[in-house]
């Protein structure tokens, strides 16, 4: 008879080993599913591997990973404080909206000087993403509304609101009727500061450093980790749990908002409907894969950015739908969760 024994603690090495094994398992299971569905599995994997050994494609992977990484860093903050923020997708959209709003304020009304544009866009997208996450957080703190469903619902609302803006008031009058905002002037794009990928890497490393610093050295970070372990302990220790949750949620959503800024200002140069192919959902998988370690999010994010890049290649080479990548991602997600089990328990054979 199999019995489960709870592990008291587990070495870092063993823990990483489980995660790596779970990734291998994910490759195997995905291969099996696709084989059953009649896909050429060898070519599927070689297309994916190709992304990581071809410099141009690898650069593309890094490029596409930036919004995932930023949103994922935000999720680290939320998950560490025990707040199930599944709303990164919506918070990314709010970031896009705010950044575009600043551009429109500037172009149509001359409200903001050109030299301050990127700073203003950064602040606005952070605040907008943060505010979007603050809604479910304050509902949770004030009324005890479970955040899982509210953050999910707000994703749909944010996406539809973006649709409204680009189909309606923000549609480019010279855009030939397409649902697009006006193109951003050059000083409102990240090209202004250098190569967008490099800029993205610099921002990501800085934000990862911030998250690391937050939890390592600040009182807020400490409060948040205690909250994540047990809200009762936090309460009895006299911590201001409510205030910390609200602050943490602003930081969490704000980082996703920065991811949105990167999408419009670094990648597209304008706002489009459905501009995110689920960066906010992929970010959840990334955060869990690295067990909420901010530094490891960088390479893990690039891996998932690579999967998105491979998704485009699969469409042309194997004529596979993009959802092939969604399947792969979700199997990885399930296997990561499975690794959590082996980290927590030891399976022992025992005679009854």
């Amino acid at each position: 008879m199999f019995m489960l024994e709870r592990r008291m603690d587990i070495s870092r090495k063993a823990s990483s080993l489980f995660v790596l094994l779970s990734l291998l398992l994910a490759f195997f299971v995905t291969g099996l599913i696709f084989h059953l569905l009649g896909v050429d599995v060898a070519q599927f994997y070689s297309t994916i591997c190709n992304v990581f050994i071809t410099p141009a494609l690898l650069l593309q992977a890094v490029f596409r990973s930036i919004p995932i990484i930023l949103a994922s860093l935000g999720l680290v903050v939320a998950f560490r404080m025990g707040f199930w923020n599944i709303g990164a997708e919506g918070q990314i959209y709010l970031g896009m909206i705010a950044a575009t709003g600043i551009v429109i304020l500037h172009v149509s009304y001359g409200a903001i000087p050109a030299s301050l544009m990127l700073v203003a866009m950064g602040v606005a997208s952070f605040l907008a993403g943060g505010a979007w996450c603050l809604i479910p957080a304050s509902l949770k703190v004030r009324l005890g509304v479970n955040e899982v469903l509210t953050t999910l619902m707000l994703n749909y609302i944010a996406m539809l609101f973006t649709d409204y803006l680009v189909y309606g008031p923000w549609r480019d009058p010279e855009g030939w009727g397409f649902a697009l905002s006006i193109p951003f002037p050059e000083y409102a794009t990240l090209k202004y500061c250098g190569n967008p990928s490099t800029v993205g890497i610099v921002i990501s490393v800085a934000v990862a450093g911030f998250v690391y610093f937050l939890f390592k050295y600040t009182k807020l970070g400490f409060t948040l980790s205690v909250l994540g372990k047990s809200s009762d302990v936090a309460k009895y220790a006299g911590m201001q749990a409510g205030r910390a949750t609200l602050l943490g949620s602003i930081i969490s959503g704000g980082m996703a908002g920065l991811g949105g800024l990167y999408v419009v200002s670094g990648m597209m140069g304008r706002l489009r409907p459905r501009a995110s192919p689920g960066y906010g959902y992929t970010a959840i998988i990334v955060a869990m894969l690295v067990q909420l370690n901010p530094w490891l999010i960088l390479p893990a994010g690039v891996f998932f950015g690579g999967l998105l890049t491979a998704g485009d290649a699969l469409q042309s080479s194997l004529r596979l739908p993009f959802s092939a990548i969604t399947v792969f991602q979700s199997v990885i997600f399930l296997c990561i969760i499975l690794a959590e089990f082996f980290r927590r328990y030891r399976v022992v054979l025992r005679r009854l």
């Binding site: 019995m3 489960l4 599913i33 569905l37 009649g38 199930w84 599944i86 509902l139 009324l143 005890g144 509304v145 479970n146 899982v148 469903l149 509210t150 999910l152 619902m153 707000l154 749909y156 609302i157 539809l160 609101f161 649709d163 409204y164 189909y167 309606g168 959902y281 959840i284 869990m288 004529r319 596979l320 739908p321 993009f322 959802s323 092939a324 990548i325 969604t326 399947v327 792969f328 991602q329 979700s330 199997v331 997600f333 399930l334 969760i337 499975l338 959590e340 089990f341």
Partner: protein, 326 residues
Amino acid sequence: MSLEWVGSVLAGTTSVGVVYLLGSLGEIYAERSGILNLGLEGIMALGAATSFITTIAWGHAVAFFVAGVLGILMGLLLAFFTVSLRLNQIAVGLAITMLGSGLSGFIAFPTTRKTILRALNPELPSTALEAQSAPMLPSAPLPFLKDVPIAGPMLFNHNPVVYVSLILAPTMWFLLFRTSVGLKIRSVGENPGMADALGINVFRIRYLTCMLSGAFSAMAGAYLILGFQPFWIEGITGGRGFITLSLIILSAWSPLRAVFGSLLFGGIEVLQYRLQLFGFGAASPQFVLMLPYAIAVITLSLLSIESFRKRISAPAALAKPYYREE
């Protein structure tokens, strides 16, 4: 507003509402036993995609059966992860939602769909291989009853799946609240430790309710495409699974009240189309499309207010893994 107009709105309300009702009936059992199936959205999508394909290949009855079986398999996956391995239900549910949405998009994609259809039924004509929509369930109006004003079009002029769902709701309410099996399910969700001590097999009950929830979610998806919206588009469920989870809270985890919750959200959806016909929101239909999500957030918040919360209490062990102390 003529009587006919009211009748047609109500008929639409029922026909959308059944999507929610089917989804919620199974899920209420799961939640009553302490399992939150956040995978509902993805299983619904998978049910819609498979029934879309199998209907073209083999017809309606088989389609519902296949969707149900796949739903049971997804439910087993959920049970294995959350009941046996005691893993976090929210994480597992999200992963299952992603898996279901991914697989549904994959198998219903035109090229893969064609391959699958050919394998399922080599005799299909090429028009069927290319079809963008599934043949809908035939309507089966009930004689005499269908002519009753208001109630007739609302309840008695639909396809058989609607009637079955409407009969299932009170049946499943009775099973849950008036039989010993129902008592067992509820006690497992309230206090699994006590239930276990009384000799109820907590694990078996939770496995069963997971499978039930999976089957019903998938059949809700099958009904969505066969009974309501026959055209396949990726992301066909559009958050209806998540809305189902919200309306269960609104229905206080009762299969009977879920009928009203489902009709409420069905009605909101029908009004969306009607409002657009009236020119309301014609320029910016997005605000009308936001309604169900916004209303879900608002109702969830209102229900959390102290005085409401006392009256409807969630199963105490909801989303908590159970293990015996050893």
